[in-house]
């Protein structure tokens, strides 16, 4: 499907995403420089926290949401072979989300929203930040509605047919996001905006943290699903192979969506407002949600093994060397999986109830989430961009070899930057601090790690600039060459026949999610309305 509207939507969304990304990368490097205390002229606590907050918002909310929406619009139109349903509405959603970003940027950059991109009262931002964030979410809800309408319209027009895997995954993500964002939306609308407007002067942080925990973990899977989508629908084909099992892929997306939601209390292990039993329940769920990642790892690696063997690879691991390492998508998935192993291990430690006490709120935590998000996830965003840009702009990729250099430097930079973070976390360095210079032996022993992080950050910044340059040169370069290629989806190794409806629809899974959410969040939220909260009612009114 050559839908110009979908291509324009995809490009516009992705440019916003990557513009936010490049700005955030400069801020990230400033932060490691400032924090080290080695450059006195850079030292400023207020600028540091404004920068951290803006870096986090740009990376975690703007890059992700706009990239996911842009990728989703193109995937929906292309995989279903239909035009975008209601493009005017899609552009309206884009406008709302962009307005929200601009609105939130003003207090962020002026230091009035230095809340470290969290929603944890009593830390409080300017009301414009909360309203801006709400508009961004409303814009993303428009995208969710369009994806779901297109999914069900296609099913209605093609009774009995299997929804293409790319669209199945995209719709799964839209549903996940609707469920996920409900928690923080409730908190912002009923607690944070009234508080910031001065309509109430007290707030219950326990309720706020519980509602934010509703959102905080599944949002990671919202970011990750486009990467997994590329793993399944692009990587096997790009590597010259087949998707090992489409049924496993569908089941992985379903389990991700269902079990990503009722598990957020592993972020609250050290909090007093929830009882141990609820935390344990969420902790068990956290380990369950590791299963689809294992299934994904297995399926993707098995697809790559077939590719390597078809290219002449022999022996137990000889196929690895035979893979097309010069293909950006193939290289990206390998590097992404390596980072997923280490980042995933960090996550297992975070989720281990007792051991969490050892690394809670230490530098280990940003080390973990940078590996999972900025490593595993964002490197696949790069690969998707390299794959789609020639198709969207109708111009060949400016340089395949530069793209490979960019992916390698991102991987090397991320490894150099996150390893010291993990070590520092085990050594007891707290996270969210603006300085590590206290002139005692303990903090002085952190210095070599800080220098390594500066180096890692610098490599990442160079890599990010290279990525941006390649995209700009591809789309706006002087070449007159026309790229006529189209998206090619991986075919399953075994033809998908007689797929059960539960692997081709979400009605059943929505009901399962509703029940699980009621079990895991019902009493933990309701309790705030039935007990004294010492000077504040639950909503603070």
């Amino acid at each position: 499907m050559n839908d110009t509207s979908a291509k324009n939507l995809a490009l516009s969304h992705m440019w916003v995403a990557f513009a936010a990304f490049i700005v955030a990368c400069f801020m990230g490097e400033f932060q490691v420089l400032e924090r080290s205390g080695l450059f006195e002229s850079l030292t400023s606590i207020s600028v540091y926290f404004a920068s951290v907050s803006t870096h986090g918002v740009l990376m975690a909310f703007v890059l992700t949401t706009f990239f996911i929406m842009g990728f989703g619009y193109y995937t929906a139109s292309n995989s279903l072979n239909v035009p975008i349903w209601n493009p005017k509405l899609a552009w309206t959603g884009f406008g709302i989300a962009l307005t929200g970003v601009v609105m939130a940027a003003v207090p962020l950059l002026s230091g009035l929203a230095s809340v470290l991109y969290t929603f944890y009262p009593p830390v409080q931002a300017h009301v414009a930040f909360y309203i801006g964030a709400t508009l961004l979410v409303i814009g993303s809800w428009v995208w969710c509605v369009i994806m779901i309408v297109m999914f069900y319209q296609w099913k209605k027009d093609n009774p009995g047919k299997t929804v293409p895997l790319a669209m199945f995954a995209t719709t799964a993500n839209a549903l996940l996001w609707l469920w996920t964002s409900a928690g923080v939306a409730t908190e912002v609308l009923f607690q944070l905006i009234p508080l910031a407007l001065g309509l109430m002067d007290t707030v219950d942080p326990g309720l706020a943290r519980t509602l934010f925990a509703w959102t905080l973990h599944p949002i990671v899977y919202f970011w990750l699903i486009p990467a997994y989508t590329a793993f399944y629908v692009f990587v096997p084909k790009q590597a010259g192979s087949y998707l090992f099992s489409e049924e496993a892929a569908r089941m992985a997306f379903i389990v991700l969506v269902v079990f990503a939601l009722p598990i957020g209390f592993h972020h609250l292990y050290m909090d007093p407002e929830q009882a141990k039993g609820w935390k344990l329940l969420h902790g068990v769920g956290t380990f369950i949600v590791a299963l689809p990642t294992l299934v994904t790892g297995f399926t993707v690696i098995a697809s790559l093994e077939i590719a390597g063997r078809l290219r002449g690879g022999k022996g137990l691991f000889g196929w690895i060397g035979s893979l097309p390492w010069s293909n950006p998508m193939t290289l990206a998935v390998i590097l992404s999986l390596v980072m997923l192993i280490f980042g995933g291990f960090g996550g297992i430690v975070n989720a281990s109830y007792a051991m969490n006490a050892m690394i809670h709120n230490t530098a280990w935590v940003p080390g973990h989430f940078h590996l999972i998000f900025a490593g595993t996830t964002v490197i696949m965003y790069f690969a998707i961009a390299y794959y789609l840009w020639p198709i969207l702009s109708k111009k060949p990729l400016a340089s395949n070899s530069l793209a490979l250099v960019q992916l390698w430097t991102w991987f090397i930079g991320m490894s150099i930057m996150t390893t010291p973070w993990h070590v520092l976390g085990l050594l007891g360095q707290p996270r969210r601090i603006s300085s590590v210079q206290y002139n005692n032996l303990l903090t002085m022993s952190w210095e070599p790690y800080e220098i390594l992080m500066i180096l890692g950050g610098l490599i990442l910044l160079i890599s990010a600039c290279l990525f941006f340059y390649i995209l700009v040169k591809t789309q706006f370069g002087a070449t007159t060459e026309i790229f006529a290629g189209e998206v090619e989806y991986a075919e399953p190794l075994h033809e998908v026949k007689d797929l059960p409806e539960y692997l081709n629809d979400f009605k059943l899974w929505n009901k399962v999610i509703a029940v699980l959410m009621l079990i895991s969040f019902g009493v933990p939220i309701l309790q705030f309305f039935f007990m004294d909260t010492y000077g504040s009612s639950a909503w603070g009114y």
Binding site: G297, F298, L310, L316, I348, S352, M355, L493
Partner: protein
């Protein structure tokens, strides 16, 4: 890239992914070992919080 015969191709497509199994089990085993090391070697050895 080596050329392979149709017979070889068929065999590859029908073979179980042994390399993947070994890789996954190795990574899984490594993770369990690393977790045990962190739990018994680092966490418990630090003693009680006081």
């Amino acid at each position: 890239m080596n050329k392979i015969s149709n017979e070889e191709r068929k065999k590859i497509l029908e073979s179980p992914p042994i390399g993947t199994w070994v890789l996954m089990l190795s990574v899984g085993g490594g993770m369990v070992a690393a977790w045990l090391f962190l739990y018994y070697g680092v966490f418990l050895s630090r003693g009680m919080i006081n």
